[in-house]
Amino acid sequence: MSKGIPEQIDPGPWLELARAATERDVLRALAAESPTVSDLAVLLSPAADSAMESMAQRALHLTRRHFGRTISLYIPLYLSDYCSGGCVYCGFAADRRIPRSRLDRGHAIGEMDSIKAMGFDEILLLTGERTKQAGFPFVLENVRLAAERFNLVAIETFPMTADEYRALSDAGCVGMSLYQETFDPVIYRQAHRWGPKQDYAGRIDAPRRALEGGMRQVGLGVLLGLADPVFDALALFRHIEHLRKSFWRSGFSVSFPRIRPQAGGYAPSHPVDERLLARIIWAFRICLPDAHLVLSTRESPAFRDGMAGVGISKMSAASRTTVGGYAESEACRNGQFAVNDDRGTAAFCEMLKVRGLEPVFKNWDAVYRSTA
């Protein structure tokens, strides 16, 4: 099962514990002062389902302790939906018969100015896999445009070389998100049918290259639904622990995307329901108390409201998953996935305030950029 996965990430030795832990083990894990990967395995086990309320309480207190009564906000901007990738689960995959587009310079400026006017100060720029139309020079140009307007610019694009990451960092990019999708090498190969994304090991290595290239924070995650979520969650945790030892000045955040309905109609082979998703997030909060845990608009308003501040410390809002979409007011069509929470910024912030949480738009300053 674990063949092909790097030894320092392999969750193999903890899988039995994650399967057979007892309620007694769960109580011990909940009481651990410095939870380890073993405690995570226990909290991911079926036995922990009976301790959901205790896990939520612990997650609430740890989130409040480390992040206060605040939620950091960011917004995604899709720069392009051209894609060379063959991901079976993605609405933007190269074989989907959808009209393709990318933002030209004028449109990008219009979109960024519209986002700025919505109040956001942290922007996440997204593309598909590397293409002629949306390759490195395209991303670099958009990072430059965004850095003129936002204090915090981050990317979620195709994996790059350390030199490319360095050039983006010098242009004002602070963060890089890249999800491994799954650490299971067999399922990874099946899910990524062609193209550069077939390079499983190269993708695992990308966060290291980004940090070596000067990025200050990386966002990691797996696509829940693709493979055994317990295997992937444990591998993800070990990956972060491993990276942290080398990059001790860097920030790490974790996202929990679930496969959503999209063009192509892929049905997840390991569906994760909301109860299990909540437990995975709380288990991460308990074992990784000081990292941002991120929840996007893939999830429903009710779920997002319940998780805000209870494990989750950072959220997107008012998102479009189409290319652009902020400058005009038309409804979203042909997005990468269906947005599940389509509330506007004001309504979302109002919900946070009702829950005693302060929405924080600006939580970093461009004065800290490497080239400022």
């Binding site: 302790r65 605040t70 929405p359 738009f361 939580n363």
Partner: protein, 264 residues
């Protein structure tokens, strides 16, 4: 003014400093600041938002009369970044104070002594009243004092941990040798710990999470205000020494009084 805290060229009656992050709203933060009686509050430069008033912490604080703002450099990874942040903070706030925070690991937030020392050297030369956040390291404290820092701010425990006075013995060494104010910064959870820090001889206490994460932040701010006052009063009153056992009669030495005095 009786027993003021002298910090740089300023004097302050309150010995409680408040951090302003982590509150549920600017209104809740302002209520806590008022209840604390603090005259010095620190604001992260990254929370200055000149473009959106509702997201800005600096604006509302600058409207409170009698409050001195201390911009902090939280977010800086090294001396170069902290120096730039301090300069920008002074430009925006007009305050002569800078709380120098360089904690390059964003997860445990422990201060980097090497970068902090280097930044302090530059900022002192530029005329800042520098308040460096440091480990409870008695040698580093003296080195920063020698540079001309206006105070030292050793930690009691990690930021936001609420573990209390875990560095008590080291704080004691710093207090005993310091000629500049010692302000305990970070790690306190309850007012009794703040009182204990003051009894130990610290000159002031800074709290943020302990107030912001309390169920009722404003009431907790008021409780810290009283605790800091009580601790300071106790320190000035002279606390009786600790003894391992009861001190009763002197059974082993009483025979000495019965001896005849020595003859010349």
């Amino acid at each position: 003014m009786r027993d003021p805290l002298r910090l740089g060229t300023g004097t302050f009656q309150s010995r409680l400093l408040l951090g302003t992050g982590k509150f549920s709203s600017p209104a809740a933060m302002l209520k806590a600041v008022r209840a604390s009686g603090a005259q010095l509050v620190t604001v992260a430069l990254r929370r200055f938002n000149r473009e959106q008033a509702s997201d800005d912490l600096f604006g509302p604080l600058s409207s409170i009369a009698g409050l001195t703002l201390v911009p902090n450099t939280s977010g800086a990874l090294n001396a170069r970044e902290a120096i730039r942040a301090a300069q920008l903070g002074r430009e925006l706030s007009g305050s002569p104070y800078t709380k120098l925070e360089i904690h390059p690991n964003p997860h445990h937030l422990m201060p980097d002594p090497i970068e902090t020392f280097e930044a302090a050297r530059v900022l002192v030369a530029e005329g800042f009243a520098v308040l460096p956040y440091i480990m409870a390291d008695p040698v580093l404290a003296k080195r920063l004092e020698d540079l001309g820092c206006a105070a030292v701010m050793p930690l009691a425990a990690g930021i936001g941990t609420g573990k209390g006075l875990t560095t008590r013995d080291l704080l004691g060494l710093i207090v005993r040798n310091s000629r500049v104010p010692v302000i305990v910064d970070a790690g306190l959870r309850s007012p009794s710990e703040a009182a204990a820090a003051m009894e130990l001889g610290c000159d002031a206490v800074l709290v943020n999470s302990a107030v912001a994460a309390a169920e009722d932040p404003a009431s907790m701010a008021g409780a810290f205000k009283l605790a800091v006052r009580a601790g300071r009063s106790a320190r000035l009153a002279g606390i009786m020494p600790v003894s391992e056992c009861a001190v009763a009669t002197s059974p082993l030495t009483s025979f000495l009084s019965a001896c005849n005095p020595a003859q010349p």
